[in-house]
Amino acid sequence: MSVAFWLIAALTVAGALAAVLLKNLVHCALAVTAAFLGLALMFLELDAQFAGFAQILVYIGAVAILVVFAILLTRGSETPEKEIGVFSRTWLAGLIVAAAVFAVLGWAVLQSAAGLPHEAAVPAVSVQQIGQALMGQYVLPLEIVALLLTAATIGAVIVAMHEKGDAQ
């Protein structure tokens, strides 16, 4: 395990923790952007350059901006009242469920650690190969994703559109 991996892992986990723990929603959006950046760096570290740059473009370029817009449109940046806090009434049950899930996943990984493969040869994958795979073997999923994205864009616009007679 290299030093770079631990640094990137620390950045990612710290960003994710800050995103779910901070009070101000704008700070949460910035923290989750740091977590997305850390994940993109991990993809690059795993020699998946195309997925890493797609992660940067889609998550940092689009999803983070969408989240910021949603926060602004819902006035979520106002700090909530002190007495109720940012966590729901059933936060303890949620925390227990999440801790249990992590315990099971971590136990499964550590149990199977001996059987996991060690160093593999660096895969030589060019963008040309990815493009040919997308246009050949994976052309049907690609078209379905294109349809899904179109439907999602139209659906998001219709759902968020002003209703007739709405005061605002």
Partner: protein, 103 residues
């Protein structure tokens, strides 16, 4: 620990953090952020297994992750549109206050 084990542990931790965020926060936008973190953790697993698989040139895990990123983007757009729509209707994004189905 093998490199693959390290990546899998980080992904498990990210998934648990995202799940905790989705289950414990009051704000609907933060719940969506938690779901995005969980999807990203799954993507990290896919890419890690692809990298250490015996046949990475088959590109299977990488393609799965790329399509997963596209579907997650669609999910985020629709989810945030729904949050904005609910905010316009109920004047709040607090999930604890959204306790009735009647409009």
């Amino acid at each position: 620990m093998t490199p693959l084990g390290g990546y899998l542990l980080v992904a498990a931790l990210l998934f648990a953090i995202g799940l905790a965020g989705a289950l414990t926060r009051r704000n609907a936008i933060l719940v969506l952020i938690g779901i995005e973190l969980m999807l990203n953790a799954a993507n990290l697993n896919l890419i890690a297994f692809w990298r250490f698989s015996p046949h990475p040139e088959a590109l299977t895990g990488m393609m799965f992750a790329i399509f997963s990123i596209a579907v997650a983007a669609a999910e985020a757009a629709v989810g945030l549109g729904l949050v904005i729509s609910i905010y316009r209707h109920a004047r709040t994004t607090d999930l604890d206050k959204m306790n009735r189905m009647k409009g």
